[in-house]
Every structure is written in structure tokens, then in C-alpha cells.
């Protein structure tokens, strides 16, 4: 009984080994082809990263490199947006912002939005300093929308919270011009808050 069992096991093992020898060559060829294909794809990716990094470095150095908004990687979009913001090319920056919804990394998109909003707040403050509040208010509202969207994407980003708070005090959110809500303070929507640099009169 025992002997026949061990004989059976030996037979099964021999059959398995024979079967393996038969498929060994095709299996090796297929595995090698697959791993070489994977290697090629990964190498291509690495080269792409290098190309992108070269573009980012060039943008940082001040070269005006056009970027395909639909195909560029997140980091290249970010670098291009920095370039445009720094040179005050608002319309192109806005087009880039509109295209940023296709970005994969929500945190990076939040940062992109926040940097745009920061630029708007800086110019809003400049308008206020010049006493041009009619221009400062819509600018600040746009910035607030962007901060809000940025915080939706990354609720833990402290710097965005802080700058949003600054923007909120330039033009407060009040119930009423958005939706239903409590009482509308009489001086609500157009009041500029008083902690702006260059607006010292407002101190209570």
C-alpha cells in the first residue's frame, strides 16, 4: 500500500518535471519579453521625467518655454504657472488655471491655485493702497474662490488657510449675497477690513 503510494508520488513528480521541461523554453522567452518590455516602458518614463525637469529648470531660469496645457505633467504646469505669475501674464495664467482641473495630484493643484490667489491678493492690496477699491473687491473675490477650491483639495494646508483668512478680512463673506442665511449686516458686502497695510485709518 505504502509502496504503491510512494510510487504514485514519484510518477506524478516525474510527469510534472517532464511537463516543466517541455514548457521551460517558451516560458523563459515569454518572461524575458515581458520584463524587457517593462524595462523599456520604465526607461521611457524616466527619460520623460528628465525632459520635464529640464523644462522646469529652464522656466525657472526665465526662458519662455510654451507648454501644452493638456499634455504637460503636473510639475511642468506648476513651473509654467510660476513663470506666468512672476511676469504678470494674467490671461495666459488664467488659461493655465482653467486647464489645471486635469491635474492628477490634488495637493499640487491646491498649491497652484493658492499661488494664483496669492498673486491676486497682492495686486488687490496694491489697489487698496492706491485707493482703488472697486478693483480690489472683485480681485479679492476671485482669490477667495481659488483659496476655497484649494482648501477643498487639500484641507490640511496651513499656508492656504492663513492666506485665505487674510483675504477674508479684506472682503468678508457674508450670508445674503451667496445664499439664504442670518441677518445681513448693513455695511456688509463692500466693507473693507481694517488690517490692511496702508489703510491705517480703520483702526477702531
Amino acid at each position: 500500500m505504502e509502496r504503491s503510494q510512494s510510487a504514485f508520488i514519484a510518477q506524478a513528480r516525474a510527469a510534472l518535471v517532464a511537463a516543466w521541461r517541455k514548457v521551460r523554453l517558451p516560458a523563459l522567452v515569454v518572461a524575458l519579453a515581458a520584463s524587457v518590455a517593462a524595462l523599456a516602458a520604465l526607461t521611457w518614463q524616466i527619460l520623460e521625467v528628465r525632459r520635464d525637469n529640464a523644462t522646469i529648470a529652464a522656466l525657472k531660469a526665465g526662458e519662455d518655454i510654451p507648454v501644452d496645457l493638456r499634455k504637460a505633467s503636473d510639475e511642468v504646469l506648476f513651473a509654467r504657472s510660476e513663470f506666468l505669475i512672476a511676469r504678470d501674464r494674467r490671461e495666459e495664467a488664467q488659461a493655465l488655471l482653467d486647464a489645471s482641473s486635469s491635474m492628477d495630484d490634488p495637493k499640487l493643484r491646491a498649491r497652484l491655485l493658492a499661488n494664483h490667489a496669492n498673486a491676486r491678493i497682492r495686486s488687490a492690496i496694491a489697489f487698496v493702497e492706491r485707493g482703488d477699491q472697486d478693483k480690489a473687491i472683485p480681485m479679492t473675490r476671485l482669490a477667495k474662490d481659488e483659496y476655497r477650491l484649494a482648501l477643498r483639495l487639500d484641507p490640511e494646508a496651513w499656508d492656504i488657510k492663513y492666506n485665505f483668512d487674510v483675504a477674508m478680512r479684506i472682503v468678508r463673506d457674508f450670508p445674503g449675497y451667496d445664499q439664504e442665511g442670518e441677518d445681513i449686516p448693513p455695511d456688509a458686502p463692500k466693507r473693507l477690513w481694517t488690517d490692511l497695510p496702508g489703510v491705517p485709518k480703520g483702526l477702531p
Partner: protein, 304 residues
């Protein structure tokens, strides 16, 4: 009388069973203090209902802005059975966009959720939640020569793309490819495994191809010799035509090629020692020789 009472009781029981039934609403609330602008909080609602009852999806709070400072970011919903009851668990995630100047109470308003049963509906009430929101900055920030630059937190710097993980993965794949290539070379007796003792016929196949490519009777002779050497190596001694039977007995994997092997030995004898080589040069042609060697190589691969 008694019968009527019983019937009434049974009817009553049925009626009670048929209507939807909200047995309890349990709230698991987060801390009610310490929230800043842009923070999120998650409330968990556990509504215990009758077994067949369902929550009416349209009665759930709508995802999106609830009012000017509050947004419902998402609802996760699932139900579990607990005894003879069904517990519907709702996880509501809110995000607050209120920028308080001093610590301030805010309230998420109460909401009603409809529960539908086989024979009616009931409502479950999610109570209001009041919590304290805190400011991020002083009420009156110090004015000490601030400019727009110091007023805001700085912009986020841009970074380069990283390819560390991809590189590691590519290195692993390169190592794997090399390993597989080495295994393949060993299997097919390529360099540096070309002298592998277990693959004499694989080697012979290559040598025959090279020899025949030279052409002429010299090349043909060299090809024959190469196959002879392979037979010698496989047998472990010099193999003559008379030994073929013994060789095939100890190497059963080559049994299928017996006819061709016999013809090869006869043809080779004729070429090297016989007279009939001119009269009958095509007994064992170059193509056949190649085929035989490839066949033997395949057989030796399948056996070792």
C-alpha cells in the same frame, strides 16, 4: 368577544409591522471645539430601523455647499443587521469655510431623513451640531512696516519631478531581464554556456549551420564531424554506427529520431570511408542534417 379582541390585536400588530419604524438615532460626534478655517469634521449617524426599512436617498442631505460657510463634502452610507433591527450608518463629512475673528459658535443645522418601509414612511431626525471655531490670526495684527510680501504666507515653491521609485523599479526589471537572459542562454547553450555538457546537440546545431554556410564538400564534412562529436559527447565515448542501438537504449529521449540517426551514420560512413560518395552524394542532404541536429537538440532540452 375574545375572538374579536384577538383579531383586533393581530390586525394591530400587522399594521405596526407594516409601517416603517425608526427605533433610535445614535450620533457619534467629533470634538465640539478647535476648528479652523478650512477644517473638516465627520459626524456618524446610526439609525436603527425595522428589518425591511430603507432610507429614502432623496431625503439625505445634499452634497455640496449647505450655506455660505458650510459644505457637505461627502456621505458614506451602509447598513448592517443587528438582531431583529437594521442599522443604517451614515458618515457625513463637512468642511467649514468660516473665518472667525474671535472664537465663535457655529451650528450645523438639524436635518430630517425619511425612512421607507413596506407600508409607510417615518422620519429620523439628525440633531444640530454646535461647535467652536477659532481664528488663525490676531484681531488686529501688529502694524510694523508690513508689506504685501510679509502679509501673506509665501508662495509654494515649484519642485522637480522625482523618478526614484521608477528608477528602482527599472533597475529591478533590468536585473530580472539579465537573469532571464542568462537562464535562456543556459537553456539554449549560448555563450557563455556554449560548452555546457548537457547540451552537445545544441552546440552541434550551431556548428553545423556555420560549417554548411561555408559550402562545398569541406563544409559538409565539417558538419558531419560536428554531429559526430556531439554524439560522442552525449554518449561519453566514441560512438560508432554499431553502438547506435546501445546509445538509444540509454538515451530514450532520442528514440524518435532513430531512423534519421541510422541514416546519418550510414551516410557519414559512406562519405568518410566508402566509395559511393560520388555516386550518391545526396543520401543525407544538408537540410536533413540541419533538421536532425535541431531535432536532437530539442529532444535533449526536453530531457534535461
Amino acid at each position: 368577544m375574545v375572538r374579536a379582541l384577538l383579531a383586533a390585536l393581530i390586525l394591530g400588530a400587522f399594521a405596526q409591522h407594516a409601517a416603517a419604524e425608526v427605533r433610535s438615532v445614535r450620533m457619534i460626534e467629533p470634538r465640539p471645539f478647535g476648528y479652523f478655517l478650512g477644517d473638516t469634521l465627520q459626524r456618524t449617524v446610526e439609525i436603527e430601523t425595522g428589518l425591511e426599512d430603507e432610507i429614502v436617498p432623496a431625503s439625505l442631505p445634499r452634497v455640496g455647499p449647505s450655506n455660505y460657510w458650510l459644505e457637505l463634502r461627502g456621505i458614506e452610507q451602509h447598513a448592517v443587521r443587528r438582531g431583529d433591527a437594521r442599522v443604517h450608518i451614515l458618515k457625513l463629512t463637512y468642511q467649514m469655510f468660516y473665518a472667525p475673528i474671535d472664537p465663535r459658535k457655529q451650528t450645523i443645522p438639524a436635518a430630517e431623513i425619511a425612512v421607507r418601509g413596506a407600508g409607510g414612511a417615518a422620519t429620523a431626525t439628525i440633531p444640530a451640531f454646535t461647535f467652536l471655531m477659532s481664528p488663525l490670526r490676531e484681531i488686529f495684527p501688529e502694524k510694523s512696516g508690513e508689506t504685501a510680501e510679509t502679509f501673506l504666507r509665501p508662495d509654494y515653491p515649484n519642485g522637480l519631478r522625482r523618478s526614484g521609485a521608477t528608477r528602482t523599479f527599472a533597475l529591478i526589471m533590468a536585473a530580472l531581464s539579465l537573469g532571464l537572459l542568462a537562464l535562456l542562454a543556459r537553456e539554449l547553450a549560448w555563450w557563455p554556456f556554449h560548452r555546457r555538457p548537457a547540451r552537445p546537440f545544441s552546440r552541434a546545431t550551431r556548428e553545423i549551420g556555420r560549417a554548411l554556410a561555408q559550402g562545398g564538400s569541406e563544409g559538409y564534412r565539417a558538419a558531419l564531424l560536428a554531429l559526430h562529436r556531439a554524439f560522442d559527447a552525449a554518449a561519453g565515448r566514441r560512438l560508432m554506427a554499431a553502438d547506435v542501438d546501445a546509445f538509444l537504449g540509454t538515451h530514450p529521449e532520442h528514440g524518435d529520431a532513430r531512423m534519421a540517426v541510422d541514416r546519418f551514420f550510414r551516410a557519414s560512413h559512406a562519405v568518410f570511408f566508402g566509395e559511393g560518395r560520388r555516386s550518391n552524394p545526396d543520401t543525407f542532404g544538408a537540410v536533413e542534417l540541419k533538421e536532425l541536429a535541431a531535432n536532437l537538440a530539442r529532444q535533449e532540452r526536453a530531457s534535461r
